[in-house]
Amino acid sequence: MAEETQQSLSLSRLALKKLRKHRLAMAGLYVLGLLYLTCFVFSDFIAPYHFDNEGRDLNHMPPSIARIRIFDAEGNTCRPFIYRMSYERDEYYRQVWVEDKTERYPIRLFAKGDEHRLLGFIPTRVRLFGVDQPARFYLFGADVRGRDLFSRIVYGGRISLSIGLAGVAVSFTIGMLVGGVSGYYGGPVDNVVQRICEMVMMIPSFFLLLALRASLPMEMGSVQIYFMLVVIMSFIGWAGMARVVRGMVLSVRSQEYVEAARAIGQSDFKIITHHILPQTLSYAIVSITLSIPGYILGESSLSLLGLGIQDPYASWGNLLSEAMAVVHIQSHPWILLPGVFIFLTVMSFNFLGDGLRDAFDPKSQLVGKEFGKI
């Protein structure tokens, strides 16, 4: 008996085992874990400033990360410090940044910063790092209004990273249910539902996104906008899922245990949700992972065009909107950094999805051999 249980690993355990051997996927998983932890659990703690904390005289301040000093004037090592920065204009009215070398501002761990609630409920002023006022430690530089880009990226991640999950949650719930019903009942129901799906998929999604956005009022609160974005993107995203789930349901539906469930008098809804959809879950997990980047990019594109999240709230997309003018990129290239985070997230999700697909694929015999090489 004990032997039997040992030998028969469940599908998910097997998949996990395979996934562990997929290096890129694991790397993706760790990167995502780090990003989500940073942006959701500890965002207030890790970001040194509140997302709307402006340094009026510090617009487009270059990244402090490049100006951290560890040698003092005599060339001895000391604890890292920065100088306070300010700018003057040259004859072409360009910013020329100068450091005020009279006073050092050491970088402090657990420094006092803007007030926030740690983990959402502990009121505190302690943040992971910072420098004393009046100097400001802008790790990734400042945006046009002198706000800390790093802090805004951390806060923006809350929107950009969560909108993918929320969008996927909504569209997959709809997609799985519609696909499940369509495949389970078959016949005319199936026919009608599938034609509707095709109609939704037929429209180029970005234009549909724009059209839907245009059909809704422009003046909305940021929370409303957030939910609107989720709804709009899910409206487009469910159809593809519904089609694939339907195909899988068609094959699961003829399984004997589905017939057995009907023979014990279970309702159709319960059969679909209990006996059929769980069988499509391994596919769904892969598909979810692979489609999250689409939602993140969708939000970014809308916000980039100014149709999504509005200032002062940050999202990776609207942080990038400043980078639409080439002039800005030339003089302050660090405003492209949010794009790096989008890239990182999208790549990580894709690698993870790839790994999950291989891991859940019962036909892949690549365990050990091929995965090691990747």
Binding site: A260, A263, G265, H275
Partner: protein, 335 residues
């Protein structure tokens, strides 16, 4: 004795003139064509026939689980305990399934959902039909597992189907079927997928359980040995029709229909010295292209011209012994 019982009370299940067709591209496939069958209360009726003769279509018709489309019950009546099942609204039919009529499928391997524990699946069955608390349902599930002789039922209830052997799984299926004390149990080839020793054990269990209750059993099988052992009555099916029906003993002792005779002769006997086993030549006709007249005529050694043109009627040749054959009825009436 069996006869008088059946006379006093109306049978639990009475099927009359059932037609179940599958509408396929090449024309309707007539899986069941004018089937009459009665299952008396507290009795086991064996429904025998080779593959493709419409046995499973019959049992699925009773449950109204014919996959539709393409399948459809075209005509007929299925009266269960005084209720015409074919005219029940779907929701009421759902309450009949599992509670009044339970079904055991052929494949214990695939009839249990692999992702739930067996205990959970029995609980689901109970709670489907009765408003009981989860704990109570679980206790009942464990009791049921004990009743079907599963060792250490408390632990087994917590296991997944893949952790059980085939025989155990079939026991779980039986436990599940018994959960709501149904009046009729349809067992669709319950032992086909099991090896012989387990088959015997399962059939013993069946017998034991049936004796403890007044449940009727419709045993659908192609295994004549099992029928001879357990059934009170036997109905032989061929190409969608019942060709012969009688109490078990007379049927095995003096089969009247050539098909039944052929079936019985085909059983391998250890006493026989023949080099080859007896076979009935030919195959079951394609249900969408049945031959005219008696569907068995192309394979029947006694077929006459009449058999090739006219469908024989059902005749009760001896009390309780029904047959559908020109030859058999002619021979008898000649006597």
């Amino acid at each position: 004795m069996a006869k008088s019982d059946a006379c006093n009370k109306p049978p639990l299940l009475e099927i009359s003139d059932l037609h179940t067709y599958f509408f396929l591209e090449g024309g309707p496939s007539k899986a069941v064509e004018g089937l009459d069958l009665a299952v008396p209360r507290g009795k086991t009726v064996g429904l025998v026939g080779e593959s493709g003769c419409g046995k499973s279509a019959t049992s699925l018709s009773i449950m109204r689980l014919i996959p539709s489309p393409p399948g459809k019950i075209v005509r007929g009546r299925i009266v269960f305990d005084g209720v015409d099942l074919l005219s029940l609204p779907p929701d009421d039919m759902r309450r009949v399934r599992g509670r009044e009529i339970a079904m055991i499928f052929q494949e214990p391997m695939s009839s249990l959902n692999p992702v739930f524990t067996v205990g959970y699946q029995i609980v689901e069955m109970i709670r489907n039909h009765e408003a009981v608390a989860k704990k109570e349902a679980w206790a009942r599930a464990v009791d049921l597992l004990r009743r079907v002789r599963i060792p250490a039922p408390e632990q087994r209830a917590d296991e997944y189907p893949h952790q059980l052997s085939g025989g155990m799984r079939q026991r779980v299926m039986i436990a599940m079927a018994l959960a709501c004390s149904p009046k009729l149990l349809i067992a669709d080839e319950p032992t086909t997928a099991l090896d012989v020793t387990i088959q015997a054990q399962i059939m013993e269990l069946f017998e034991e359980i049936r004796q403890g209750t007044d449940m009727s059993v419709l045993l659908v099988t192609h295994n004549l040995g099992i029928v001879a052992q357990t059934a009170d009555e036997v109905a032989v099916m061929y190409a969608g029709h019942i060709v012969e029906q009688a109490a078990t003993r007379p049927l095995f002792a003096s089969p009247l229909h050539p098909y039944t005779q052929g079936l019985l002769e085909s059983i391998p006997k250890t006493t026989s010295t023949a080099e080859r086993l007896h076979v009935i030549s030919g195959n079951v006709p394609d249900p969408s292209h049945k031959p005219p007249g008696c569907p068995f005529n192309p394979r029947c050694p006694k077929a006459t011209d009449r058999c090739r043109s006219e469908m024989p009627p059902t005749v009760e040749l001896q009390p309780g012994h029904i047959v559908r054959c020109w030859e058999a009825s002619a021979g008898r009436s000649g006597n």
